[in-house]
Amino acid sequence: MSDYDVIVIGAGIGGLCAGALLAHQGRKVLVLEQAPRVGGCCSTYEWNGYKIDIGASIIEFPQVINWAFERMGTTFQKEVDLIAVDPTFTARLHDGTEITFPIDLDKTKEEIRKLAPEDVRGWEKYSQEMDGFLKAALDGFFVTPARSLWDVCKLFAKTPTLLKYGSLFFGSYEGVLRKYLKNEKLLEALSFHSFYCGLPPALLPGHFSMIPYAEHGGIYYARGGMIGIPLGLQKCGERKGMEVRLNATVEKVIVENRTARAVKLSDGTVISAKIIVSNINSKKLYTEMIDQSNISRLARAGYKSYRYSMATPMIYLCLDYAPPLKDHHTLMTVPMQKMNDYWFDHYEKGEFPAEQFGILSWTTRSDPSLAPPGHHIIAVTLAPGPYRLKGTTWDNEKETIMQNVIRFLESRYLPGLRDHIVHADFSTPVDFEKRLLSPEGAIYALRQDLTNAMMFRPSAKSKQIRGLYLVGASTHPGGGVPTVTASGMIAADLIGKYES
């Protein structure tokens, strides 16, 4: 007799989504979270009256998240107070030029006309192509398991229009954008989006080039901080008896005869369940938390071969003034080629220069209640940070790097910044690893290139261990708030099908 029907390890979005859906299937669910709060990378912590987002700063594809809530007889909007963010972003290019992308596509076209009149037609063609692709992808790709070649064939058979966009999968993000757009400044403005999926424009598969277009379907911020989204899922699960235990670190998954039986916590407690759902990085799960004798040699080689995704160093700034920015998101960009060069010449060599590119997320622009009256918060998402710094460590360099980056931000984007900082905190890749137990601080868990996608990404229903299911960024469909929500739906569906 097991203590629970289901134990979910990790209260990230994927874990909470799966847990809540399984509770709605009538199962007795326990969610164990090592942190003092839920949400993983989509969470918020408090410092002296400031509510600071840890990672995610907006959500795209709200319809995907809504599907999860609809399955529980409610809606995303009902459970989470969402604030529409418009424009999607303003890009401040390396030469000081600014371009804004309003949600409205016609208004965006007018903005493009001002910067790159020669690309208006190209933008229209790009929008048309991405609109078609997105509809097909949302229909089939997001909530369909892709565990085997057969699954992938079924996916394409179910949504044959996806075949029309097959070439997108075999080119790069950069290649697709360059097919439609010629103006280097416009390309620069749209380049950083590739890091939303963890790779530079030259390496990211082309189908992700729909992201800048997808933002025009609406982007949202959760009032009170991004933790509102996981809390909404938690609330739905708790209505059906789901239990969430914080500060509970799982050390091992106990497997007998290739069947998951229980989990062992760091305090020695053993809790048994019929099904284990893991929301932790699957490479860590299979290589460190499960007795290797339960895993075939070939699969062991597979798990070891995965490369962790990039880490994203973040600086959180609490300010006593309104920063001289326009929008919720300001992208600090460099030319597309420089973003690629940064990856190969700095990131892969363990260097982290102070002259940065990234995103300034001015969250109090959308929700002033996050900070005391008149005060503001900016979360600065920097360029990918190497986990291992060449010749030194993050702990040694943390303060120096933060001060250098703040000086750079002041000189380029936020004049007078240093006189208005009430509090500054820097989350390095090592801090992300410590806080979220995410190996190497990898925010998308595993790299998201084609060779780590679909049937080549660890399967939602374990191919090695019976009764073990995966959710989160390290299984299909990958990293990002809507995608990990989809992984929760996929796992719940598979459990409903195979574990009745």
Partner: protein
């Protein structure tokens, strides 16, 4: 012998084609090819 010749010609053509690719496309292909050996074990995960 004929088969070897055909393969050699195909390889030459592919090499010439690769040489004409822009730097970013070469990086994209190189990245995929470097992981090709991992596809079989990854399929079993």
């Amino acid at each position: 012998m004929k088969a070897v010749m055909i393969i050699a010609v195909i390889l030459c053509c592919l090499f010439v084609l690769y040489a004409t690719f822009p730097k970013s496309r070469k990086q994209f292909l190189k990245n995929l090819l470097s992981q090709a050996k991992d596809l079989i074990p990854r399929y079993f995960t």
